[in-house]
């Protein structure tokens, strides 16, 4: 054992991937000839650019194009590359490694760069032929072979890798479905707005996307044939690509007894728990972080190379990462932290006509994150500003327009800015209307209002994003003669009014909150407590059965199907159809109140019983008991149908003319569960003495000898307003149909939170009468649409909750009577 001072030290590298390659390049530049290098690579080839496997799959590149280090590089640097030889053991005491082929090599310094393993979800059938991962060239070759035969491909995972695989396979002619567990694509890198645009772009390529879909099994006899989803559906598949994530490949290090958590634990100088062994790349865990992108690996490589070269430099301090999706034609960039808050300030730019969404997030005058879709030219500029933590307060006004815009100066007065534009400058992108066209229309036709300009030129009539610009053109053209109409925007997140938003949701077939916010140019990224519940309602009303209710956009009462009280407890009001009850029901109510020690039982002003003071955690138990006794939610909490009060009517009363109780029950059963812009209350009185107070209800029916008088637009709350008589019908069927048609017209037309009387005052009683009393076809159509939307809601929300829907709502995350002692470190 004579070790000579002049003898070169032995460096052994396990893994011939991107991190190892870059680290060695750095090392050779810093300390040429310092080591004898041996590399073991499990793959039977030289080092290639793994990132570029996506273009190889799509056919835009071939393997030769993506080689990083050809045979020449290994020869020049005197590297002994052992291709296709996997290291199976490390002997730390003896400082040797052993390969799968039995080769034993001694080391002075060992570098582990084993990358990651793709994660395979543990479902039955995951080992069937035809199920592949997406990690190396062999995987790509398998996919290309499958694609040559055509057929169906299912990609599990809607992240970066999954979408690149999907796009590649679609380009190769397969019919592709992406199955993604989360509600939005690339949820780690994108906010919901960018994810919405991405989904649209991917779907345009003929790729089907199933979000919120959980794969439970892979089916097939001898080879893959289909996958099975949790909701019971099966999707045909000749090829299944698993792209659900990666795991640091740390098995070798672990079996050698090195410290391993999620990845191989390294310090700031990339040393493992054994000072003779370092690790670099995706296999490591540094300050609790594992990385899956190349930029951090390159930074690590530099630090490790410096140490191996004997330099003492600053250590590695972790990385901020940025992401780009490599699908041709889809421009997407995200970097840093894009959470928002009081101390953060965001600048959003949306250009619906070009499909552009840009969002830059600032904290204390510095950019902390950016999401760009459709126009990513400035991605690297923003990323650089993030990394440098540069103070950008000076350019805040113009920041969102990008680097080219800087040096421009202060924000202009919008009217002056528009006045300065040339006549052919485009004002409305959606409809291609220039400033000149608008000015000509204003002067030639004597237009004075925004609505007139919209009607004549179409400017701002689509997405509405340019409304402010059109108003500025009006102001610039008419001068003082133009007084902006008293338009009331929905909230500070948009310039559009409620009516305009509703119209556009239907006209542009917008079917989700992110879709509305993007296409209509919302100025915030996730809305506010005022617009979110409104949009949620408008979408429910426009797309019954199709739109999925967003519980987090609902006021607590509607989310929990109970009214919150001043002390944080809740009240529970079961339905008593038409104000009727039975001895059995009353007994059950008594027993349930006793069993749950309900603090107060009260008759409401709506002819039913209220349990008050129920703690949240008790709600489901009480509902279950009420359900078991045949009672359901009374929706006393909803912007929806509350009560239908009745008087006894013809069945008992000496003055009664019709079966008011029967009609009341029928109305309540017909309308129960519907969501409306504000609460809706009905009453049916058996005669004009009106004992059920029908003339102060949203819809009131007064029975008369000859039939039924239908009244609408009453209220007896903050404002007391007697109803208006809408019309008279002869039969009970007609009465039901007219009432439902009124309710549907109100649902479709009213501004969120307007009671029925406000809507009626806005559109005019005559208009409503013409639509519903005079026009039979229209009445019928409204009625039919009402019935369609009722199909989606005729379920008892209490029963759904008792059965387990979002049950977590009713349970604390943790409940600790005694705090357990901290576990020993």
């Amino acid at each position: 054992m004579t070790s000579q001072v002049s003898q070169r030290r032995k460096l052994v590298v396990v893994g011939n991937g991107m991190a190892a390659g870059r680290m060695l390049e750095d090392l050779f530049a810093r300390a040429p000839g310092a080591y004898d290098v041996t590399i073991f690579g499990a793959e039977p080839r030289v080092n290639y650019d793994r990132i570029m496997l996506s273009p190889v799959l799509s056919g835009e590149k071939v393997y030769e194009d993506i080689v990083i280090h050809g045979d020449g590089w290994y020869a020049e640097n005197g590297i002994d590359l052992k291709r296709g030889e996997k290291i199976v053991a490390i002997d730390r005491a003896g400082r040797t490694v052993t390969s799968s082929a039995g080769t034993v090599v001694a080391y002075d310094e060992l570098v582990i760069a084993t990358g990651s393993d793709p994660f395979v979800i543990p479902v039955p059938g995951n080992a069937l032929p035809g199920v592949v991962t997406f990690r190396d060239l062999d995987d790509v070759e398998k996919m290309l072979a499958a694609a040559a035969k055509g057929g169906d491909a299912v990609v599990i995972g809607g992240g970066l890798l999954g979408l690149e695989a999907a796009a590649g396979l679609a380009q190769k002619g397969m019919k592709v479905t992406v199955v993604h567990l989360m509600p939005i694509l690339m949820e780690r890198q994108l906010d919901q707005n960018a994810a919405y645009l991405l989904k649209k772009a991917i779907e345009k390529r003929g790729i089907t996307i199933e979000t919120g879909a959980n794969t439970t099994a892979i089916l097939g006899d001898g080879k893959v044939e289909a996958i099975k989803l949790e909701d019971g559906r099966t999707l045909p598949a000749d090829l299944v690509v698993m792209a659900v994530g990666i795991r640091p490949n740390a098995a070798l290090a672990k079996s050698a007894g090195l410290a391993v958590e999620r990845g191989i634990v390294v310090d700031d100088h990339l040393a493992t728990s054994d000072p003779a062994i370092s690790a670099v790349g995706e296999c490591v865990q540094h300050r609790g972080q594992c990385y899956g992108l190349v930029a951090p690996l390159y930074e690590m490589g530099k630090v490790l190379a410096a140490r191996l070269a004997g330099e003492t430099g600053a250590g590695y301090a972790g990385s901020i990462t940025s992401t780009k999706l490599k699908v041709t034609g889809v421009d997407l960039f995200s970097a840093g932290d894009f959470s928002e808050g009081d101390d953060t300030d965001e600048v959003v730019l949306r250009d619906p006509s070009r499909g552009v969404y840009k969002r830059v997030i600032l904290r204390d005058g510095r950019i902390v994150g950016a999401v760009l879709y459709g126009d990513v030219a400035d991605g690297s500029w923003y990323f650089d500003l993030i990394k440098k933590q540069a103070d950008v307060s000076e350019m805040r006004e113009t920041l969102i327009y990008g680097q080219a815009f800087q040096g421009g100066g202060a924000a202009l007065d919008p009217v002056a800015a528009v006045a300065a534009l040339s006549d052919d400058a485009e004002i409305c992108g959606c409809n291609g209307v220039s400033k000149g066209t608008i000015v000509a229309a204003i002067t030639a036709k004597g237009l004075t209002t925004l609505d007139e300009v919209r009607a004549v030129t179409k400017a701002s009539a689509s997405c509405g994003q340019c409304t402010a610009k059109v108003e500025a053109v009006l102001a610039a053209t008419l001068g003082d003669a133009y007084a902006a109409a008293s338009r009331k925007p929905m909230c500070k997140c948009t310039d559009l009014t409620h009516e305009e938003v509703r119209e556009r949701i239907v006209a542009k077939e917008l079917k989700s909150v992110p879709a509305v916010m993007q296409e209509l140019g919302w100025k915030t990224s996730c809305g506010c407590p005022s617009c979110r519940p409104a949009l949620n309602y408008y979408l429910i009303a426009a797309w019954p059965g199709e739109y999925r209710d967003d519980l987090q956009s609902r006021f607590v009462n509607e989310r929990l199907h109970a009214n919150i009280q001043k002390d944080g407890t809740f009240s529970v009001v079961p339905r008593m159809w038409g104000g009727l009850t039975t001895a059995a029901e009353l007994k059950a109510i008594g027993e349930i109140a006793e069993k749950h020690q309900v603090p107060l039982v009260k008759m409401t002003g709506g002819q039913r019983v209220d349990f008050l003071g129920i703690p949240k955690e008790r709600l489901t138990a009480i509902w279950k008991d009420l359900n078991d006794a045949g009672m359901v939610s009374g929706h006393a909490y909803s912007k929806g149908l509350r009560t239908v009060k009745t008087c006894v009517g013809k069945s008992w009363c000496r003055f009664g003319t019709q079966d008011s109780m029967g009609l009341g029950v029928k109305l309540e059963k017909l309308m129960c569960g519907s969501w409306t812009p504000a609460k809706v209350k009905l009453a049916v009185s058996g005669c004009p003495r009106n004992c059920s107070e029908a003339t102060v209800k949203d819809i009131g029916v007064i029975c008369v000898d000859s039939g039924y008088d239908i009244h609408i637009a009453g209220a007896a709350g903050l404002h007391v307003r007697a109803t208006d008589l809408l019309g008279h019908v002869d039969t009970e069927e007609e009465a039901l149909e007219v009432c439902a048609a009124v309710l549907q017209a109100y649902r479709e037309g009213a501004v969120y939170l307007d009671r029925l009387y406000k809507w009626s005052e806005k559109v005019g009683l005559d208009t409503i009468r013409a639509r519903i009393i005079d026009d039979l076809a229209e009445r019928r159509a409204l009625y039919d649409r009402f019935m369609i939307s009722q199909r989606a809601v005729r379920k008892d929300p209490w029963a759904e909750r008792v059965a387990g829907r979002e049950l977590h709502e009713f349970m604390p995350l943790a409940k600790l009577d005694i705090i357990p002692a901290p576990a020993a470190e």
């Binding site: 407590p529 995350l813 409940k815």
Partner: protein
């Protein structure tokens, strides 16, 4: 030892809290609301509105704020301060996410 020692207690996976929503943690001295924003940040505040004690966990979460369900005060999730014209503060507690799990500092959360 009576000093406030850091003691990170595992509350379970982040996915147990709805996005733009909240869950509560009950400890002997108080209820704590744990919020999750649209961007997967978590915050912990005492579950009592500085106005009249409303349960903040039931409010609508938007951005890094929550609107109290009782009278609509808007509370900043990070500091617990009421925003706008209102004044008051809900106490906030140290909380963090690690490996997709949520941890609260019980040393502080359970202390008097």
């Amino acid at each position: 030892m009576t000093d406030a020692k850091q003691y990170w207690f595992d509350l379970g996976p982040l996915s147990a809290i709805p996005k733009r929503g909240a869950r509560t943690v009950q400890v002997p001295r108080r209820d704590i609301a744990v919020f999750r924003t649209a961007n997967d940040e978590v915050f912990a505040l005492e579950n009592r509105c500085p106005h009249k004690g409303g349960p903040l966990s039931e409010g609508i979460v938007h951005g890094r704020k929550v609107a109290c369900p009782l009278h609509n005060w808007v509370i900043d999730l990070e500091s617990g301060n009421a925003t706008g014209a209102d004044h008051g503060c809900a106490r906030s507690f140290p909380i963090k996410i690690e490996n997709e799990r949520v941890f609260i500092d019980m040393g502080v959360a359970a202390a008097p």
